[in-house]
Amino acid sequence: MSAADFAIEAGSAAARRHAPRRTTGVAPLIGALCIGVMAIMLFPLIMCFSASIKTAQEASAVPPHYWPGALSIENYLKVFHYQAGLPVYLGNSFAVAALTIALCLGLGTPAAYGLARFPVPAKELVFLVLLSGLMIPYQALLTPLYIMAASLGLANTYLGLAIVHTVVQLPFSIYLLRNSFEETPRELEEAGVIDGCNSVQLLRWIFLPAAAPAIVTVTLFAFITSWNEFLAALIFMNKETAFTVPIMLVGVRQGHFGAIDWGALQAGVVVSILPCLAIYLLLQRYYVSGFLSGAIK
């Protein structure tokens, strides 16, 4: 089945007939299992949120309690005022993510278009070179990339880290966009040609609108990859004002005088999770479809 249909198909009668189904009355057992699984999966997230709205003292209480005795935004205030301030760290994360998105789309769209719609010589070889980032783990390249960044004056800059995140995300972007451009009906393209479009105009007026879902998916994934990436951010952003949100959490945990500030840490975790959660809940269809077409196949 086509991956893009997953979210819709998943619940439809057609899809359910495909799945191996049980024949007789084990439904209560399955229901109970589902509820148990959900409870286990949600427990950490709910407890994390619960800890974040405790008072700082209660969040560090031994033994701990599940639920807050009194509600407090103390922990969030602490994270807000942590060192350079939460707005700075959020700003850093958003800026790096925005640049990563721009690079993935800016480089990936034309490349995918060229490969999908032109008789490029040695096409599959070019494609393979562009996907080489899939074979080579970016983690291994961090030392040379760090030295390049330092010599180009890109250490502790948004662009420096965004380049690494693009190395990670560009192969997926090109792969997805190429598939999408290839699926665009020939008739649409021919209509454009008759109207006198050149290849740039065809891309702009015919192919980009047709590939809109793929572009949304590429954007989503570039954002989530960049927002969550840890190791490169740890290495490239070593100045306190340049930290992204995950690296800020390393600092928040250290706290003052060696004692871990548990409440602030969990408040920080909640803040770092929220954008991803929002994307997942609002754009689940794009997310799951991209996930299915990109992860394997």
Binding site: A295, I296, K297
Partner: protein, 290 residues
């Protein structure tokens, strides 16, 4: 047609090709060249031939880290695959509730590995953590467990956190594979009176075997590159026992500033990973693009 020339197409791909050349292939060559030097991030670099490789061969911590990483991968991969498949079957078996369960199980896949590791680091803390509290409330344990002073307990704490974080990954891929099985095959088996478990064993498993294999590979490669979860939860301790390969590379390159040696270890790790990804690519090609 004028606009349909190969040169134009190549022109469109040029910016991306330059990017990949500059930031993937060139660093790759640099990495290899650096691995033959004693370069330090503090400055200075001399060619020393294969001495770093010999040193890696004798580096006990590196071997320990490599074996530890393999152990982690060998334990967690089957857990993830079996649980993922079980969850796929479970959620396909229940209509409404199944969809909701699916969405909930997949949720942690979206959040950052760093965030989830900080979350679980707290849950497993021996004093303020809720895992001990929960286990005590359920009378599973009497005294709080100190998870991170023991390498094995620490490993299991990390494994539990990662299973929670990524089990939805396999599940969603298995669901898609199971749904793509032709309905007629199942119906024919039903008419023949094949039981649920027989249909799983003789229809579902064989027909999704390619997905299972690919997911196993992708998952195992990811585990072989584990860093965040150990950096955050165990910090390599106790006594360097929970260093993963990548963590030891990071430690050498960026904490000890031994960039040349770190590059050597990177080359070795990459060679190991490459075997896995080559296999993956081969399988992907064979399956054909859709």
């Amino acid at each position: 047609m004028r606009t349909r020339s190969g040169t134009v197409g190549l022109l469109y791909a040029t910016p991306a090709l330059i990017f990949v050349g500059a930031f993937v292939l060139y660093p790759l060559v640099q990495l290899f060249l650096t691995s033959l030097t004693n370069a330090s991030l503090l400055g200075g670099s001399d060619y020393i031939g294969w001495r770093n490789y010999l040193r890696a061969y004798r580096d006990e911590t590196f071997w320990h880290a490599l074996i530890f990483t393999c152990k982690y991968t060998l334990i967690i991969t089957p857990i993830l695959m079996i649980l993922g498949y079980a969850l796929a079957l479970l959620t396909l078996g229940a209509a409404r509730l199944g969809k909701l369960t699916r969405a909930v199980v997949f949720l942690p896949v979206v959040i950052g590995l760093g965030s989830s590791s900080f979350l679980w680091f707290w849950l497993f803390d021996e004093q303020v953590g809720l895992i001990n509290k929960l286990l005590q409330d359920l009378h599973v344990i009497g005294q709080p467990i100190v998870w991170f002073v023991d390498a094995n307990l620490g490993l299991w704490a990390v494994i539990i956190s990662i299973v929670w974080k990524v089990v939805g990954f396999g599940m969603i891929l298995f669901i898609a594979a199971l749904q793509s099985i032709n309905a007629e095959i199942n119906e024919a088996a039903l008419i023949d009176g094949a039981s649920y478990w027989r249909r799983i064993a003789h229809i579902a498993l064989p027909l999704t075997s390619r997905t299972i294999l690919l997911t196993t590979l992708v998952s195992a490669i990811g585990s072989m590159l584990a860093f965040d979860q150990f950096y955050i939860m165990t910090a390599g301790g106790p006594e360097s026992q929970t260093f993963t390969s990548l963590y030891w590379i990071y430690q050498n390159s960026f904490i000890y500033f031994k960039q040349g040696y770190g590059a050597t270890l990177s080359v070795i790790l990459m060679a190991i990973i490459l075997i896995g990804s080559a296999l993956q690519l081969l399988l992907m090609r064979r399956g054909g693009r859709t």
